[in-house]
Symmetry: C2
Subunit: 290 residues, 2 copies
Amino acid sequence: MSEQLSPIPVVHTIDAIRELVQEWKRQGLSVGLVPTMGYLHEGHQSLIERAAQDNDRVVVSDFVNPIQFGPSEDLESYPRDLQRDTALVERAGGSVLFNPTPAEMYFPNRTTAITMSTITEELCGKTRPVHFGGVCTVVAKLFNIVTPDRAYFGKKDAQQLLVIRRMVRDLNFNIEIIGCPIIREADGLAKSSRNTYLTEAERAAAPVLHRALERGRMLAESGERSSEVIIAAIREVLDSEPLTDTEYVEIVDLETVHPVPTLDQPVLVALAVRLGTTRLIDNFFFPDEL
Amino acid sequence: MSEQLSPIPVVHTIDAIRELVQEWKRQGLSVGLVPTMGYLHEGHQSLIERAAQDNDRVVVSDFVNPIQFGPSEDLESYPRDLQRDTALVERAGGSVLFNPTPAEMYFPNRTTAITMSTITEELCGKTRPVHFGGVCTVVAKLFNIVTPDRAYFGKKDAQQLLVIRRMVRDLNFNIEIIGCPIIREADGLAKSSRNTYLTEAERAAAPVLHRALERGRMLAESGERSSEVIIAAIREVLDSEPLTDTEYVEIVDLETVHPVPTLDQPVLVALAVRLGTTRLIDNFFFPDEL
């Protein structure tokens, strides 16, 4: 594209982003928020583009949130590239990049947390016990800082989407939560900032996640209603790839996120797989909705 | 007063109060919130009057919040009188009374909570372990529903005021929290909806809380800096009244709410006393501020 883009502001303080948003609101403009941890890819880009369609202004937050990482997780190594992120946000139609420091976001003696029970203990919550509490807390903070009309989350983090929707309902945030489709590489691998961790051999193996889910989806679409049968078929495809170490394959209810024996209600079919030291997730909703 | 007052609306749903506030905001009006559990007295009245001075419109919420009561506490017997409350809100300059049902405020399968550590475990938190989490959760919900510019809390519930200020800071609510002075009966007893539980003999004994605190305040004002000495003097006055059963007398730091040995920093001097089955609290800040 040869189109000239005006540089967007990158703001680092809560006061600065508040001031900007309040000025927009005084002008009667609507505001969308796309919360990210940076290292943006086409998945984030699609969220920003959707937000730019729906809203007069779009805030993209770029913050690697320390409190959603467990002690043995990849906080330190999580990839960062603010300059590239800024260019992508500009290109996608974002209005501003909000990039606070951890010290700007968290007081040293903070004592408040948002916690969620039951639905955060399923799926990824089993191996990531602090994760969703950290997500809820930072998203609530971003909601209070930016006060958007709408906020955009990718369906790739499907449990996160369900958790955020629940938090919004339970705490009465007046914000519309919009889930956006998974964006994939040409070979089917779901876009993820963590794909950068994969070795060449792991990267070559990684599309098996999508192939396995497609096998499950075909079964469901052809009328199969047994979770056990569908899960077994998905696992069979995953197991055909020797580099994969499957953490879970589950079919869960959208409200409770608890496993269900049959597909007689809307469900989420989700899996988590390790490829070497990298943990990848993928999923589909059936029927496709949300 | 013979002045004619126009009746204020009493709204019972979240949608209705939101619509009202959003219309005010479209008109550029400022909004104050006075969260209460109803059975309003002159203490609440002073909060509403202050809010009416500071803001164009004042929402008074009137909701006995079930999740801030422990299992053995007085949720069922907590006094209620919506008609009297409405008249008081009108008289004090409130714009609307928001009186939701518990079912309107809480989904049956809610899973989200706001929790606070350390400062909620001191003072009243020792005997009321679920209390402040329940307060934080309902206040956060009210903040999200009403989106006020300012919210008003009485200093009588001093620990609550410190907890709410902390929650606002930690979660970045863009709301100014205003603490208002304790309002007392002629004999010094702090106004409280729970005073209605007192028998005649207990009511006659109850001003001892204030007398005891005044003894402590005089010592502090005359230069005494030992918490131990001041607490002993307060306890001596309390113990002079045979009906009292002292739960705690403590002098704590305003940030940590943890006991401090000396008054070399701003402190809260707080006590909780049982009179029969009724639990009363009272306090003063030294120096008087906040």
